[in-house]
Amino acid sequence: GVCFLIFPFQCSCDLPSMAASTTCLSLPCVSSVVVVVVSGASLASSSSSSLFSTAFPRRLSPVVSGSLRASVSPFVVGVLSSSSSLCGGVLDSSVLLSSSSSRVRTSSSSSSSSLLLWRGLTVQTMGVEMPGTRMAEELPKKMQEIVKMFQAVPDPRAKYEQLLYYAKQLKPLGKEYLTPENKVQGCVSQVWVRPSIGQDDKRFYFEAESDSLLTKGLAALLVEGLSGSTAQEILAVTPDFMQGLGLNQSLTPSRNNGFLNMLKLMQKKTLQLYMESQEAASASSISNPRELETPAVRETEADAAQDILESPEAENLSSEDSHVSSTRPIITKKAVIEEKLEEALTPTELEVEDVSYQHAGHSGVERGSTETHFNVKVVSESFEGRSLLKRHRLVYDLLKDELQTGGVHALSLITKTPREVTATGKS
C-alpha cells in the first residue's frame, strides 16, 4: 500500500524527526511506499537533506533504521514542494535513478511541482539533489565527501561534534605563518590560512590555524576538502556548498561570513601562488595557455580567475556553436538551451523563459547570479511513446552541461507531443 504523510506547513527542523516517527508507525501497515508531501516555499536545504537521510535506509539515525530495515523492500520518498528549485532537484534525481521503476504516478498541479514515486529502487543509486548540493559536482572529490557526511548528520549538536573532530585533526600552523597577509578578514575570531604547492604533483595544499574551536573546525573542513586539488578545481568552488553542509543554520551570520572569507582568501592565495608558479615555469600546466595571454583587459584577479575557469568551458561552447570570440564569449544560457533543444528535438513549439528573478534570494542561489531558473515548454514528435519520466530525462540529458557546470539551478518542464496539445485544446 501507499502511505501519504502530508505536512502543509513551512518546513522546520522538526520535520525529520516527525517523518522518522511517522514512518516507524506506518511500517507495520505493510506499506512499502511512503510519500511525504511537504508544501511551503522555504524548504531549507538542511532540513530537506536530513529529511531524505531519515527516509533512506542507508544513512539513518539508529532509531529509525532499525525498524525500517525490518521492512521488506526499501522505499522511496518523493517530495511535493512549491519551491521549484527543490523540484528541479527531485526531477534531476529521476535522471540518476535506475530505470527499474515498476510504477510511476505523476500529478502536475502547478507548473512548478511534480510528484514522482518509484518502487523497488535501491538507495545506492540515489544521489538526491537539494539546492545546496547541486553545486556538489563542481567540488573537489574530498569536499563532496565532507558535504555528504555533514548532510547525513541531522542533529545540530552532532554536527558540532563532527566539526570539533575536524578541528582536533587539523595540523597546527607554524607561528611564523601567523602574519597579517595570511589572516582572514571579517572573522569574529582569528583565522590564518597558508597555501603551498606540492613539489611532485603541483597541486595545492593548505594549512590553517584559529583561536576559536568552531572556526578552526570550519577552516579544517576547507583544508581537508580542498588540499590536493588543482588551481582550477579550487577556483571553481562556489560558496553555495556551504548550505549543503547544513552548518549555516547553526552558524551566526558573522561566522558564516568568516567561512566565506576563508574560502575567498584561500582562492585568492591559490591564484597568487599559481601566477607566481606560472611565471617561474616555462611550460604551462593548465589546459589552454592561450587564454591567459589573450584577454583584452585583466584588471583584477577575479578576471584572471575567470579566464582560467572558462578555458574548459570555452572549448565546450566553441565546439557547438560559433558565438565564441577569442576573449570572453558573451552568450546567454537561454540561447544555448534553445539551440540544443532545437537541434535535438526539432520541436513544433519551444518556449524558454528565464524566471531567475523569482528565485533571487533563495538559499543556494548566489547573489548576483543570473539565468539560474528557466521555464521550458517543448512540444515535439520525439516525445511520442515516451513516458513523462523519459521525456524529462531526455531534456535533462541534452542540457547536462548547463545544469552541472553552467550555473543553471533548475528547469521547470512541460513536455508534450503535438497530438496531446491539440487533444487538450491547450497551447
Partner: protein
C-alpha cells in the same frame, strides 16, 4: 498587570486550580494567560464580571513577583523561541528591548498626528510639535537638567560626542591642549577625540586601571594640569561594569579649568542620574539602551556652553534668517538640530522615559543590584571563568548588572555560538567596542552577559546552566 488575586472570581474550583497551575508554569505571561484562559472557560454572565474585574484590578505589588517577572509581559519580543529554545536575552547593554507602551506610542504617532514640527500652523503640526517638545521636557526632568533648552536631540550618543568635538572642540582647543580619556572608553568616546586632535594639534592622555580593574583615580589626579581642557569618560563601563566617581572627577577637572563630558549610556538607563548634582558640563545618552527606539539620543550641555558653540550641521531648523551670502543661526537647542528630526522616535523616547519613571529608577536600580550580585557570584563559581572589572562590593552596587568574562581554553565566540544554538541564550562576544581595553587586559576577545530589569534570576540560572554545558562540550574535545 493582573495577578492571581483576580482568580478568586472564577466560580469553578477545578478551573481555578487549572488556571493557577497553568499560569505558574508560564510565569510572566500570567496576565495574558489569566485573562484569555478564563475568558474561554467562564459562563457569559460571570465573564463580564471577570472582564470588569481584570481591567480594574490594580497592578500587583512587589510581593507577588520580582520586577523581572512583573514586567516581562510588557515586552512582546521576549516571548519567543530561538533554535527551539525559549529566548533568554542577556545583551541589553548592546540594546534594550521595547515595551508595548513605546511601540503603541510610535504607532499612534504615525496613525494620528504625524506632521513636520516647528513649521506648520495646522492642527496636526501643532500637536506633533507639542509632543516633540514635551518629549524634550521629559528628558530634561529625567536627568534633572535646569531647562529643557539644554537638551539637544541627536541620532545617538556617538553623534552627541561628535557634535561636541566638532563644535566646542574645534572652537576651544589648540596646539598642545590636552584631552584626558581612559583606556576603557568605548570607541565612540575615543575616535572623535583622535580626529579632533589631528585637526587641532591637541594631545590625548589616557588613564589606566587599578589592579581591581577600576579607573586609576591617582593617575587621573597626576595627569590633570593647566593644559587639560577636557576630561571625557564613562559613568558606567560597558565592559568592566565599574562606576566612575563623576562628581569627584568634575571637581578636580574644574579646578584646573577643564570641562567634563560624561558618557552616560550605561548609567541613565539603569539608575537615577542628576546632571546638576554631578556638575557635568556635557552628558550623552542613547534612547535605544533605555527601552526607547533606535535613532534618537541626547546631548545635555550647560546653557552657557551651548550658546557659545558654533553650529554642527547646517540646514533648515537651525537658522534664524537665510540670505544668499550668509545666514544667522538660531539659539540652542535648535541650532544643533538641523533638518527634520526623528519626531516619532523622540516622542517614543518620551514614552520610554514615562514607562521607566512609572516603575521608578530607584526600584530598577535596586533590582539590578540584586541581579548583578547574583550574576557575578554564580558566574565566578564556574570553573575557569575570569570576570573583568571589580567585584560588586559589600552593598552590591559597585558594579553594573553585566559581566564580561572569559573561560580558560575556550574562545568567547565558541561560547556565545553554542549558547545561542543549543540553549537560546543571547550574549555578546568580541571586544564590545573597547579594543584598547582588551589590549590593555591582554585578551583578544571576551563574552559579555548583561541583564536589564526585565530579566529574572531564573534566566541567569538558564544562562549559567547553558554555560556549564557549553564548557563541558568543548572541554571534552581537548
Amino acid at each position: 498587570m493582573q495577578t492571581l488575586a483576580s482568580l478568586e472570581l472564577v466560580p469553578n474550583h477545578t478551573l481555578r486550580c487549572f488556571i493557577q497551575n497553568w499560569c505558574e508554569a508560564h510565569e510572566g505571561r500570567a496576565a495574558v494567560a489569566n485573562h484569555a484562559l478564563a475568558m474561554a472557560a467562564l459562563q457569559p454572565a460571570s465573564r463580564k464580571t471577570w472582564v470588569a474585574r481584570a481591567v480594574l484590578s490594580p497592578p500587583a505589588d512587589a510581593a507577588t513577583g520580582s520586577l523581572g517577572e512583573l514586567t516581562r509581559g510588557d515586552f512582546p519580543i521576549l516571548n519567543q523561541e530561538v533554535n527551539g529554545f525559549r529566548l533568554v536575552y542577556m545583551d541589553s547593554a548592546a540594546t534594550s528591548q521595547k515595551p508595548t507602551a513605546v511601540l503603541d506610542c510610535l504607532r499612534n504617532y504615525y496613525e494620528s498626528y504625524n506632521a513636520n514640527v516647528h513649521r506648520g500652523i495646522h492642527s496636526l503640526s501643532a500637536r506633533a510639535t507639542d509632543e516633540y517638545e514635551l518629549a524634550r521636557k521629559k528628558v530634561a526632568n529625567f536627568i534633572n537638567a535646569p531647562s529643557d533648552r539644554d537638551i539637544i536631540f541627536t541620532r545617538n550618543a556617538t553623534e552627541s560626542i561628535n557634535l561636541v568635538a566638532y563644535t566646542w572642540g574645534i572652537a576651544n582647543l589648540g596646539e598642545g591642549d590636552e584631552i584626558v580619556l581612559s583606556v576603557a572608553e568605548h570607541h565612540s568616546n575615543i575616535v572623535p577625540w583622535q580626529i579632533l586632535a589631528q585637526k587641532t594639534g591637541a594631545v590625548l592622555r589616557f588613564i589606566g586601571l587599578t589592579p581591581d580593574e577600576c579607573l586609576d583615580m591617582e593617575q587621573l589626579k597626576e595627569t590633570l594640569n593647566e593644559r587639560t581642557k577636557l576630561v571625557s569618560t564613562f559613568h558606567v563601563s560597558n565592559t568592566l561594569g565599574c562606576m566612575n566617581p563623576i562628581a569627584e572627577i568634575v571637581e578636580r577637572a574644574h579646578k584646573v579649568g577643564a570641562k567634563v563630558l560624561v558618557d552616560a549610556c550605561q548609567s541613565v538607563p539603569h539608575m537615577p542620574v542628576d546632571v546638576q548634582a554631578l556638575g557635568a558640563d556635557f552628558l550623552v545618552a542613547s534612547s535605544h539602551k533605555m527601552c526607547g527606539p533606535t535613532g534618537i539620543g541626547i546631548l545635555y550641555g550647560k546653557s552657557t556652553l551651548l550658546n557659545d558653540m558654533p553650529p554642527f550641521l547646517g540646514g533648515g531648523e537651525m537658522i534664524a534668517d537665510v540670505f544668499l551670502d550668509h545666514s544667522t543661526y538660531a539659539l540652542s537647542p535648535s541650532r544643533f538640530e538641523a533638518g527634520t528630526p526623528a519626531i516619532g522616535e523622540a516622542i517614543g523616547f518620551g514614552a520610554a522615559i514615562d514607562y521607566l519613571s512609572n516603575i521608578g529608577m530607584d526600584q530598577i536600580h535596586a533590582y539590578e543590584v540584586e541581579l548583578s550580585k547574583y550574576l557575578y557570584e554564580n558566574l565566578s563559581k564556574v570553573p575557569g571563568v575570569k570576570i573583568y572589572g571589580p567585584p560588586p562590593g559589600p552593598k552590591g552596587d559597585a558594579r553594573a548588572s553585566l559581566c564580561a568574562f572569559n573561560v580558560e581554553g575556550i574562545h568567547a565566540t565558541d561560547l556565545s555560538t553554542f549558547l545561542d544554538q543549543q540553549h537560546g541564550v543571547a550574549i555578546r562576544s568580541g571586544h564590545h567596542c573597547t579594543q584598547p581595553l582588551h589590549r590593555h587586559l591582554g585578551i583578544n576577545a571576551s563574552a559579555r552577559a548583561s541583564a536589564y530589569f526585565y530579566n529574572t534570576v531564573d534566566e541567569i540560572d538558564i544562562f549559567l546552566k547553558g554555560l556549564n554545558d557549553t564548557i563541558s562540550f568543548f572541554s571534552s574535545f581537548n
